[in-house]
Symmetry: C2
Subunit: 148 residues, 2 copies
């Protein structure tokens, strides 16, 4: 293994719910995992894998076909991370052609709402962002050389 398999969770003391947005708490330097978990959850492949698994249990190759932009390597890595985080359960059936199934754990399933709100926001503001982007780029295009 070579991927980001950062061990030693280093449980940080719960800071309590009353302080809204203790920003420094998200930071990696604090030894907390908020940031780290966020990265996993917001990760491109993780998000897609979870989304598909939200529908039903899937085999490795099924996921591969469904996500399809993904390489075998990244699918394996992603699935392993999700399994390690307890978001996905991996079941191996010791049959002649190996059969491995992946499904969301209860905790994994609770991500639905959260992810949904993120995607909703993004979809809802897609146009507005595109407009902002176009405007910004054209402002830059005045000073800088237009590519085409």
């Amino acid at each position: 293994m070579e991927e980001g398999t950062l061990k030693s969770p280093s449980n940080c003391g719960d800071t309590g719910p009353e302080q809204d947005f203790d920003i420094n708490n998200w930071d990696v330097r604090e030894g907390c995992e908020v940031r780290q978990i966020l990265d996993r959850v917001a990760d491109k492949w993780s998000l897609l894998a979870i989304a598909h698994l939200e529908r039903r249990t899937l085999r490795f190759s099924e996921l591969r076909r469904l996500i399809d932009g993904i390489s075998q390597r990244m699918l394996t890595v992603t699935l392993r991370q999700l399994e390690r985080d307890g978001l996905v359960r991996r079941t191996v059936y010791p049959v002649v052609p190996p059969r491995v199934e992946y499904e969301l754990t209860p905790m994994g399933a609770t991500l639905h709402t959260t992810i949904r709100s993120l995607v909703d926001w993004t979809e809802g503001h897609q146009q507005e962002i595109a407009r902002a982007r176009a405007e910004y780029d054209s402002r830059q295009g005045e000073a800088d050389a237009p590519v085409a």
Copy 2:
């Protein structure tokens, strides 16, 4: 500039709100920006910058001190991206010691709820994930050589 300054927004046709979770829609290959926007929003530095700006308008150097793990380069890059996406407004005061202020745009402010739910989920499941991680790691430790 060298950073991910992917131009040409390529506005993709709105697929409509009735279909819940059209997964392929998030994918980068579709030419849509959902994935891309998500990356921005979930980005470590973006998240921190937005969180601080949620409190009040800040100057460049103030942000730098507040985030503090960040390099000048990354702060600039992050702020520029957020500005381009229309999430942050940059105001330059042409005074002798240059003064530049950053503040959230109305759209940027709407991120609050979304980000909050993400962070809430993460904080709420931090312990459970840590436990899952520890368990997974120990399971691996049996088969693989314990480091220490």
